[in-house]
Symmetry: C2
Subunit: 163 residues, 2 copies
């Protein structure tokens, strides 16, 4: 493999009520009611130890349901104008890695039950990281073109533009 | 490639003052003073449009300087006990994807100048996502074994345990 390419493997699968990207909530804040289950492959289950002490975790996953075309300019769900892809969370990215911060409900031997999940059922899992506000929450943020209040994001749903 | 494997490519490189993991700050909060530059490959530069409106971004990168062995139980920098790897931010993960939230200082044609960077110079970049508090900041967080105040994290530096 060339030095600038990296091969990652699925370490589990994310189970959710969402069968397709259409109608899915946009980001966990829009999905307060949606529970999901992160199923870890047996081989990686030991890595879940100590996770239950955290209230939230960061899921990294592969956007498997998005069309296999990368675009550098996309029209995000929250806007009608094209934006540079690195200024959006759209799935059509050069590397189709998705990220969601979710609430941990419980951790079993090889499952993490989560709240506020916003991915398609069957999404391949790449990583779980504990959410640590000291690392992950900066002060004084500004959010450019996303002039969306929490309620606006909550009321928006995904459509088929990335299918 | 098997269906459960995914190939990603470097889309740029992160330039920092840190030549090796040893002595590096732990996570951006410990690296207030460290400036860095995210250099995007020419082919992806158009994707940076609109990013300058955001105060912070999430960098995803490949932990290239960590030893090539995954372990499901690791002794994190902030602790002396072994913890499940998914309850830590250690680089020795089944998929060696790193994540840092950094402050955006300026965006040029194919560079993002950032503050508070905590990765080794030459780290391959996988993705840039805008940081959006409505998506990325949950309420009421608990952080399990990480009983570390901001000042404790600030005073800790990486050692060679993951080399």
């Amino acid at each position: 493999m060339p030095e600038d390419q990296f091969q990652y493997k699925s370490i589990g699968v994310i189970r959710t009520p969402f069968e397709s990207p259409e109608g899915m909530p946009i980001q966990p804040v829009g999905a307060d009611a949606a529970d999901g289950t992160v199923e870890i492959d047996e081989a990686y289950a030991d890595g879940l130890r100590d996770l239950s002490g955290f209230s939230h975790c960061i899921l990294l996953y592969h956007f498997h349901a998005a069309a296999d075309t990368a675009s550098l300019e996309v029209e995000p769900f929250l806007d009608d104008e094209k934006r540079g892809v690195f200024a959006t969370r759209a799935p059509q990215r050069p590397n189709r890695i998705g990220l969601s911060v979710v609430e941990i409900d419980s951790v079993t031997e090889h499952e993490v039950n989560v709240r506020g999940i916003d991915v398609v059922d069957g999404t391949p899992l790449l990583d779980i990281k504990p959410f640590v506000p000291e690392f992950d929450v900066p002060n004084d943020t500004a959010t450019g073109w996303i002039d969306a209040t929490e309620s606006a994001i909550k009321s928006k749903q995904a459509d088929n533009r990335f299918l």
